[in-house]
Each structure stands twice: as structure tokens, then as C-alpha cells.
């Protein structure tokens, strides 16, 4: 029931919302900041200025209309396919783990992993974009050898919370997993 402020690996503020529905079920939502108005205005202005410069030298009016179309489509594409507002992890002890990412446009994509396939939830380290970061991941069982670790599914891939936030989620996940 807590709602605390943490930051992601780039120093942006993110918020973590932990909801424990029962002892066997918990939902963890990490929300990243909304699309900043300044950034949108900046991008649009830059694109339009470029278009206007080209128009100034070539005097082809299509350039301007293409620029407007591009900025509109780009904006929609960004909201629909790239910008993720919330990422949530729903852990139900007896059932499985569900990961949901909600895009800024309202689109949601969901992945569900059955509990029989889950080996554990751990915090791991990885080299990412010239940095070394911590991330939370779900370890899956190797289908043929249930004691071995198979694939790794990273969670909160777009928000990338820092270690203190990950530990908070990790502890609660472990509590739920231990009880089931």
C-alpha cells in the first residue's frame, strides 16, 4: 500500500506502488514520468525549422506538409509503440507471474509465466550501454532438467529502477514465493 519515490538509472524520478492483495498475491507498479511538454515542443520545433529551411531554399511547399505529417505520425508512433508509462509485475503465488507494460497511448502488452515454469526471482547484474546495472529478472526452469536454470526474463526493462527499488520489490516477491 506504499507509494514511494525512487529514481531510475538515469536519475529520473519514478514511483513504485506496491499493492499486497493478500499473502499470496502482490502487484508492483513502477511508473516513469510523463512525456515532458518541453521535450515534445523542442522536437517539433526542430523538425519544423529544418523543414522551413529546406523550403526557403527550394520553395517546394510539399516539404512543409510532409514535415507536419511526419511530426504527427511520429508523435503518435512514439506514444503508441515506444513510450511506456507504467510497468507492473503481478505475482500470484499459486498461479504465476504476469508482466504488463502500459504505453502512453493506453495500449497494454501482457506476458504471463506459469508458476510451474518459474524457478526463482533474483536481482542480477549486467553490462548495459557502457554501464553496469542491476536488474530484476525471473529465472525459468530448463524444460528437460527442472533443477537447472534455463532462460532469464528481465522485468521493468523500460523503467530500469535502481537497486534500492529493486530490493523492495525483490523482498516482497520472495515473501510471496516462499508462502506458496
Amino acid at each position: 500500500m506504499s507509494d514511494e519515490a525512487f529514481s531510475d538509472i538515469n536519475g529520473n524520478r519514478i514511483s513504485l506502488d506496491c499493492q499486497r492483495h493478500s499473502d499470496f498475491c502482490g502487484e508492483f507498479t513502477v511508473s516513469s514520468p510523463k512525456l515532458s511538454f518541453l521535450k515534445v515542443t523542442g522536437c517539433t520545433c526542430a523538425l519544423w525549422l529544418c523543414a522551413y529551411t529546406i523550403f526557403f531554399f527550394t520553395e517546394v511547399t510539399e516539404v512543409l506538409s510532409v514535415a507536419i505529417m511526419l511530426s504527427l505520425v511520429g508523435m503518435m508512433g512514439h506514444l503508441h509503440f515506444l513510450k511506456i508509462d507504467h510497468e507492473s509485475l503481478l505475482v500470484i503465488g499459486s498461479l504465476g507471474i504476469q508482466m504488463t507494460s502500459s504505453y502512453a497511448s493506453g495500449r497494454e502488452s501482457t506476458t504471463f509465466i506459469e508458476m510451474s515454469k518459474v524457478k526463482d526471482v533474483v536481482i542480477n547484474e549486467a553490462i548495459y550501454m557502457q554501464r553496469v546495472i542491476y536488474y530484476l529478472c525471473i529465472l525459468l526452469k530448463e524444460p528437460l532438467h527442472p533443477n537447472e536454470v534455463g532462460d532469464i526474463v528481465p522485468v521493468f526493462q523500460s523503467c530500469k529502477p535502481r537497486l534500492n527499488c529493486l530490493i523492495e520489490i525483490y523482498k516482497q516477491c520472495q515473501e510471496i514465493l516462499a508462502q506458496s
Binding site: S7, N10, D120, I123, N124, E125, R131, V132, E148, I167
Partner: protein, 498 residues
């Protein structure tokens, strides 16, 4: 209210466990160091440098220091792995250029290395091997970041050919502002001081070591009524394989009960095979090919005499291993070899076929007369000569000394580079050092240190490893053990805060 208090306590505890290492970063007087070993050469690649780094790190961890290793990715092995006792290894995804050395642009490795140095709170950067580009890069960046630096040189070089001239220049530049340099033998020290134009006072000699428990004698494995000579080395020019090719037919014709076992692989294998073909010695000269480190002992104990024909050698590990297995050692008198073993355990010869044959004949005669020392006696003498614990103790003293020194500021460093490395190279590298410094400022602005999480310590004074015995953390099982550590260390945090 109570909840808030609890939260506060939780936070401080977590901070303590996570950042408990930061205070010592500022006052380096503390005896426990945080060391980062950097080299291009590490397991799964096999060789002397690799095992040196591994063994030294393990013994330093045992003495309570925090040690991590940075190397480049080997094939599929990239990312972060844990070895025995929580030794953390970073396999960085850098491109390999030649002979397992990474390509360098000097600057591209800075962001990653900086991130590692910051998150692990490193105080001393220890680079290994002058062939390793990553090691030089790390020295360069560590000096820019104001960390203490130590360098270990593992090999001898010439002065005459073009490649040595260039490498020596690079070494001069790289070592002129390094805090301390370690060499493996006095010959190697002399060589390094000359090549790097260094002040001999900042160069220490710490020999390599062998694990005596791995190399125990077993005379029952020897073949009765025969005398076996064992050679274990890479079959390359530097190891004097051409000499060996001269010795084999001479001695085999003279002594019908003489056998050779040759372990190792390399381009000169053809020369040996040719000799074997020509004199029909297939029965008596066995070529084993490349050996794994753990197989070496089983080969060594089959022999009576260990032969080393190297043409250049800084410190010969192989002869110590041979002697530790109770073999009489015959070796060429080159480089640091005369320093390695006491006189009565080794027969030194000039690097010629004639001299080596004479030396071998003398040993064979002694063996026939039963005048040689018994394997157990030789083993007991060698056992105490070179141990990794001793090496770690001596290296620790170097660290203590280095930690008290002041790191050169950027202007002192530029001055040093310009005036002690020659006019052209000095100026070029001073310019590069300035660029590196500017790049570091840019990185500090882009990714401030406060954005980086401090890594959970596996080893060192606040290490979490010893509190948790992990079943699968052997060097063979290290493949997947990183999950276990991540898992258990965080679980420990969990316990600490509850």
C-alpha cells in the same frame, strides 16, 4: 509514526551494507584495499599470467581484501561471473584484435572502466602483462581518475627489432607515472627498468609461485628400467624447440633406454615430428599435444628428468613445477632461470645442443649410479620456496606502500609525460591524457557518480560471501553461480533490515 521510524532504520541499515565501503575510499590509510586486477589474459584462456592473477586474487581475498578482475569477453562468456570465494570477474564486451589482446582507441573503454571503478569503490588498479592492451588502457584511465596504480610485468623483451622498440616506447609512456611496478625476477626487473627508463626504487621483485599440493611426486608411475625426459612447454621458437630437435636424435642413439615425453602445442611441432620421422623414434618420443593444467602433474610424474630449453624466460614456472614433482631439472641458463632454484636442484647449461647434451648425460649417469636426490627430498625442498600466500603477503606490502603515496595531479602528470618520455611520444601522450581528462569530465556530467549503484560486496572487509556457504561455487560450476550470489547477497540485506 512507528512505521516511519522503521523505514528510517531500514534505510540506514541498507545504506550501511551497501555503502559501508565508501568511508575507506576517502582515507586510504586503512590496511584493507579494494583491488581491481586488469588484464586481457584470464581464464578460460590458459597460461602463466592467467593462473598468476587467479591465485594471487584468491590469496588476497583470504587476507581480507576486496578483489575483482576485469578482462575482455571470451566468446560466449561475457558479463559478470563469480568464481570461488566470491571473486567477481567482469568480462567486458570489447573487440579482440590480435593474440587475445583487445583493440584500442584508448578512449572507448573509459565509460565502462569508470563505471566499474566507481561502483566497486576501487582504490588500487593492478594491471598485468605488457602484452595486454586492456591493462595499459586501465592504467591510463585509472591515473586520470586519480586512483593508485600497480603494474606487473611477466615477460622479457629485446631492444633491437622494430616491434620491441615500439612496445618499449609504449611501456615507457605507460609506466612513467605508474605508482609501482612488480617484476617476477631480478633479470626481469633489470630488463623492465632499462626498457621503461624507470627509477629502480619503484620496481619490486615478487616471484611467481606454484601450488605445491597440486604437484606432488609419485615415483611408482615411472617406467622401470627406462629413463624418461619430460618437456612441457609451448612448441614455439622462444622456448628453444629447435635445440630440443637437435638433442633428441643425439641422445636417443647413444642411450637405448631413453624416452622423451613432450607436452604442448605450437607451430614448432612440425620440427619435432620431422625428427621423429627421420630417426624412426615413434616408440620413444611421445608427443601429447596441448595439455590442460590439471593433466600436467600426471605427465610430470612419469619422468626422471625435466628439460627446459627456453631461449628467453622471465621466471620459469615450468621448472618449479617439474622440481616440485621430484624431477631433476636441466635447463638453459637464460633470463631469470638461474635465480629460480637452488644450485643443487638444477643443472644449468648454455643454450646450445652440445652443452645441453653434456648436462643431460651427466644427469643420466648420476641416475644410473643412483646418486640423484630422491623425489620426495626434492619436493620437500621446493615446497617451501614458492607459495602463493607468500606472494600475496609481499604484494600486500606493495599495496600498503602505494596507498600511502600521492597520485599525481593532472598538471604534474603532464609534466612527467612531456619531460621523461621523449619530445614526440611525450607530447602525443600528454595530449591524449588531456583528452582523456576532458572525456572524464563529460562522463561525470552525463552520468554522475550518484546515479551509479554501489555494488554489493562479495569479498573484502564487508564481504557477504563468507557468511553464506554456497554449494555450487566451484571453478567448474561457476557458469551459473552468479545468480546464487545475487540471490543470497540480497537475501542477506533482507535479513539485515528485518
Amino acid at each position: 509514526m512507528g512505521k516511519k521510524k522503521e523505514k528510517c532504520r531500514k534505510k540506514t541499515l541498507l545504506q550501511k551494507t551497501l555503502d559501508g565501503t565508501t568511508p575507506t575510499l576517502n582515507n586510504c590509510i586503512s590496511q584493507k584495499h579494494k583491488i581491481c586486477m586488469v588484464s586481457d589474459f584470464f581464464y578460460p584462456n590458459m597460461g602463466g599470467v592467467e593462473s598468476h592473477i587467479y591465485q594471487l586474487s584468491q590469496c588476497l581475498i583470504e587476507r581480507g581484501h576486496k578483489v575483482i578482475i576485469v578482462t575482455h569477453a571470451y566468446g560466449n562468456r561475457k558479463g559478470i561471473r563469480f568464481l570461488t570465494k566470491g571473486l567477481k570477474v567482469y568480462y567486458l564486451p570489447l573487440k579482440v584484435m590480435y593474440n587475445q589482446s583487445t583493440a584500442t582507441t584508448i578512449f572507448h573503454s573509459l565509460p565502462l572502466l569508470r563505471c566499474i571503478f566507481v561502483r566497486e569503490c576501487i582504490t588500487i588498479v593492478h594491471s598485468h602483462s605488457s602484452f595486454s592492451v586492456l591493462a595499459h588502457d586501465a592504467l591510463f584511465h585509472a591515473k586520470t581518475m586519480g586512483l593508485h596504480t600497480v603494474f606487473t610485468d611477466h615477460s622479457l623483451f629485446g631492444f633491437a627489432d622494430v616491434s620491441s622498440v615500439l612496445t618499449n616506447k609504449l611501456l615507457t609512456v605507460s609506466l612513467c607515472d605508474t605508482n609501482h611496478i612488480i617484476c617476477v625476477s631480478f633479470t626481469s626487473k633489470e630488463n623492465t627498468v632499462l626498457r621503461g627508463a624507470l627509477n629502480p626504487e619503484i620496481v619490486s621483485v615478487i616471484p611467481n609461485a606454484v601450488d605445491p599440493t597440486d604437484f606432488t611426486p609419485d615415483p611408482s608411475r615411472r617406467e622401470d628400467g627406462k629413463i624418461t625426459i619430460v618437456v612441457i612447454s609451448r612448441l614455439v621458437y622462444r622456448k628453444g624447440i629447435d635445440l630440443l630437435a637437435g638433442i633428441i636424435p643425439k641422445l636417443c642413439l647413444k642411450h637405448p633406454d631413453l624416452n622423451f615425453i613432450i607436452g604442448g602445442e605450437g607451430p614448432k611441432r612440425l620440427v619435432i615430428e620431422e625428427v621423429r620421422e627421420k630417426y624412426q623414434l615413434h616408440e620413444r618420443v611421445r608427443l601429447l599435444g596441448a595439455l590442460e593444467h590439471r593433466e600436467v602433474r600426471n605427465v610430470l610424474v612419469q619422468g626422471h628428468i625435466f628439460l627446459n630449453t627456453s631461449l628467453t624466460e622471465a621466471f620459469c614456472m615450468a621448472i618449479v613445477e617439474g622440481a616440485s614433482c621430484g624431477l631433476q631439472v636441466v635447463s638453459t641458463k637464460v633470463g631469470g632461470i638461474p635465480e629460480v632454484l637452488p644450485e643443487d636442484l638444477i643443472i644449468l647449461c648454455e643454450p646450445t645442443v652440445k652443452s645441453l647434451c653434456e648436462g643431460l648425460e651427466m644427469v643420466i649417469a648420476k641416475e644410473r649410479a643412483g646418486n640423484l636426490l630422491s623425489p620426495a627430498a626434492i619436493h620437500n625442498r621446493v615446497k617451501t620456496l614458492y607459495t602463493w600466500r607468500n606472494v600475496a603477503k609481499r604484494t600486500e606490502k606493495v599495496y600498503d606502500r602505494v596507498a600511502k603515496e600521492v597520485v599525481l595531479t593532472i598538471d604534474e602528470r603532464l609534466h612527467r609525460l612531456m619531460f621523461s618520455c621523449g619530445p614526440v611520444a611525450g607530447c602525443i601522450f600528454a595530449f591524449l591524457a588531456v583528452l582523456d581528462f576532458l572525456l572524464l569530465l563529460l562522463l561525470k556530467w552525463l552520468v554522475p557518480e550518484s546515479y551509479m549503484d554501489r555494488a554489493v560486496d562479495a569479498t573484502g572487509p564487508h564481504g557477504l560471501w563468507r557468511q553464506w556457504s554456497l554449494p555450487r561455487a566451484s571453478p567448474n560450476g561457476e557458469q551459473k553461480s552468479n545468480y546464487h550470489l545475487s540471490h543470497s547477497s540480497v537475501e542477506l540485506l533482507n535479513d539485515a533490515s528485518c
